[in-house]
Symmetry: C2
Subunit: 469 residues, 2 copies
């Protein structure tokens, strides 16, 4: 592998220049999307893949209107539906590795907090700054560097490679399940490399094998046809009270979700997953200090803290709005009140099922008047820590970093992993170029150039080991 | 009295012109107050009283910083402190009638909903439109018309008359209790005519004898030092949840307030008050229709509806704010959440006492982390329906309207009545010029000119009867 690694070293500046060009395209998928930049970026990425000998095409996700469900009657799905870049190239081995990535980025605002313009990437002190340099264009560029090394040094890829690079990840990957279902033939593979990943502060590489799911809803109470003088609190129903009581029925101060059947489908951590979590370094003290609190919710700590964070579902109020929100007193009985809520779900919870249970919960607790909108949903997924592919990835990482990686059975966040694991039946793991201060989604997003170099080498090593396997 | 009434008729246009001039002064007391217009209006009103032979002066309320309490340690009082116009004139009888009024007005916004400019009063179809034509400058002008008639027809007033006309009523009359305490000698009288009042849709005059009190508070939860990604819902405390649970502990869906001792000081309606409420016309159907609902809160109706509306305290959420309040999904765990609440209080509840009980309630229910700010407080007050003064006012109204008035033992709203009833020991009642579509506080505030004429005559009749009494 040293010849391959050397090629990556020798062409590092070219790879960074390629990444810089890619990051100049402001492919923001949030609403309203920068449609022109999105389309240009999809074309640009396709071109880079073709330059490496890939057959690349631009696919479209199923239109929202054609999708049946999953949003129930009251629901309304998210928008999105940007082009998906698909590419494939056969290799020496017929085993196929699928890369899932995304070419869209988060908005750059607030612009004034950037040290240099977000869409004009700049190198300072060994770091490259710019929107998307880490999440996720930097990972795309690192994969390209590894592929180029194989092609130029050995003349062919060690295994067959496919790419699925979407443009809606930052807005929740709408229609990804339907897209994968529709394209399951095209996307067929033996394993999948996921989009994120990186190293800890101590430089230890981490492999993450799963994601939580998500159900995002809006609850609203509408009582009277307009705000009333608050002296009518005697006889007119107050929307803020209705909403408060409905919310309080969903979860109490002991943090237990009170929706009947909410926990039914929760898959407990396996002994192997538990062991992996035990071996993980603790970020507990750092997280609590960073948020200025002395203890975690309900006093949970140590292994229980990590198990709860990675294996338990949540019910979170994301926002509340009703009536008078300004300074000082104003006596008003609100006609309308609204809450945003998200539920982080774990295997095998299903957002549509939880939505239906939440509706039944409200109805049965006397809150039939509370309207519920389904804003978005993603299913949770985990690759078992015992899957042979995890071993292959672990070996590839050890080839490169010369140390044992941390295995993270699931992240606490959400991503469109489910159709890759469930529909395509693939084991998944990530190898990435991030570090704890990458500031994904925030101003001064950056990567360390050394992390980029190592991440590219780890991908190159994985291609080699996977081809042999 | 016919000579007096005739004078009012003959000088109606002059009285309306006087009212029009008064309403051209935009004496808005809300923050920031129109300080120049406020001062001019106080001077203008003093001048009108001096023209009728009153000795008039401009007094100041105690400065906020000099006031001890009532805001407890966490509290913060309202602003305000505009000049009070005080005036007095001896009459034939030594019995003294005190008029409480206010020369400040509500803001005119939203301006685009006015049919004519709010501070350029205009007559259309027997109505005078403009900010303050009813609340409360029109009542001041009607009192002046009655006083002028007595002076010009009989040469003197039939009783001694005092005026206390404040400039802060529309922002909750801050420091009024302290002012009355400080000026109790100057304000000494035998009875008090209150500022509002008017007739029903059927043209039946109403006399209102009491007000509810008010405690207005802000509750806030602060958990972490900044908003977090909602995946931390597992381990970080969510301010929105803390607030929701604290609020839900204060009142449940059965509308019963759960603060220990909240109802202890509630004075039940006397048999006479109950009888008065029974004799009141029902506004229930009209109110419910107007707010687009089929039934009142908890299904209360008929006499129970009216008794609850007038004699029971409330706990109202006036506003909620936390986290993400925009369109679509955004996954955020809020660091801060805030609620506004008001409690309408009935005799003999005390806002300071209820505030202390609310603090104890939160502490004892595990919500010591919820901060509480005292934004404003007013005490409730009622004049007994059996007070002889009520009989005198009733007679005066019958002289004018030739029909029995409706006696309303208390309104559901709040006003600074308490120091007049409790500190000065005065019976109170209102005689006013309003009607159900007067639109006080709203665009197109207006009075019917016939109501103005009759209201002035009722005041004139009251002066006469009171002087005889």
């Amino acid at each position: 592998m040293q010849d391959i690694f050397r090629h990556i070293d020798d062409h590092l500046n070219e790879s960074l220049a390629q990444l810089t060009e890619l990051c100049k395209l402001a492919s923001v998928s949030a609403h309203p999307p920068t449609a022109d930049a999105i389309a240009k970026t999809a074309e640009h990425v396709s071109g880079l893949l073709r330059d490496l000998g890939f057959e690349a095409s631009i696919l479209t996700k199923p239109a929202l209107s054609e999708v049946e469900g999953p949003a129930p009657a009251e629901g309304s799905g998210s928008l999105g539906g940007q082009a998906v870049v698909y590419a494939e190239q056969p290799g020496r081995s017929s085993r196929t590795l699928l890369f899932y990535d995304h070419y869209d980025v988060q908005p750059a605002e607030p612009l004034e907090l950037w040290s240099s313009p977000p869409f004009e990437p700049a190198i300072r002190e060994g770091k490259l700054y710019g929107r998307g340099v880490g999440d996720n264009k930097g990972n795309i560029a690192a994969r390209l560097a590894a592929l180029r090394a194989w092609k130029e040094v050995r003349g062919e890829l060690p295994c067959s490679v496919k790419f699925c690079i979407e443009g809606d990840e930052e807005i929740g990957s709408p229609q990804m399940e339907e897209f994968v279902e529709e394209q399951r033939g095209l996307l067929a593979a033996d394993a999948c490399v996921w989009e994120g990943g990186g190293v800890t502060w101590e430089g230890i590489p981490q492999l993450t094998l799963g994601v939580k799911g998500l159900l995002y809803v809006e609850l609203a109470a509408n009582t009277v046809n307009r705000d009333a003088h608050s002296s009518y609190g005697t006889v007119l129903a107050n929307a803020a009270w209705r909403l408060v009581w409905a919310l309080a029925s969903i979860k109490g101060p002991d943090e237990r979700v009170l929706i009947d059947g909410f926990y039914d489908a929760v898959r407990r951590a396996t002994p192997e997953e538990r062991a992996a979590v035990e071996a993980m370094p603790s970020e507990e003290a750092e997280t609590l200090r960073s948020y200025g609190v002395e203890e975690a919710l309900t006093g949970v700590r140590g292994l229980d803290y990590r198990l709860r964070h990675l294996f338990e579902p949540t019910a979170t109020i994301d926002g509340l709005t009703s009536g008078y929100e300004g300074e000082g007193p104003k006596t008003v009985l609100p006609a309308r009140a609204m809450a945003k809520m998200d539920f982080r779900l774990v295997p095998d919870q299903d957002p549509d099922d939880v939505f239906a249970k939440l509706r039944r919960h409200l109805d049965s607790r006397g809150f039939g008047d509370i309207t519920l909108r389904y804003l978005s949903g993603e299913r949770p997924a985990r690759t078992p820590v015992t899957d042979p592919f995890v071993g292959v990835v672990r070996q590839a990482v050890m080839d490169t970093y010369e140390r044992e990686p941390i295995i993270v059975p699931s992240m606490a966040g959400t991503g469109p992993l489910y159709p890759f694991v469930a529909t395509l039946g693939l084991p998944t793991a990530d190898i990435g170029i991030g570090y704890p201060e990458s500031r994904a989604h925030a101003p001064d997003e950056n990567i360390r150039i050394e992390d980029f170099r190592r991440g590219a080498k780890a991908i190159a090593a994985l291609l080699g080991r996977f081809g042999e396997g």
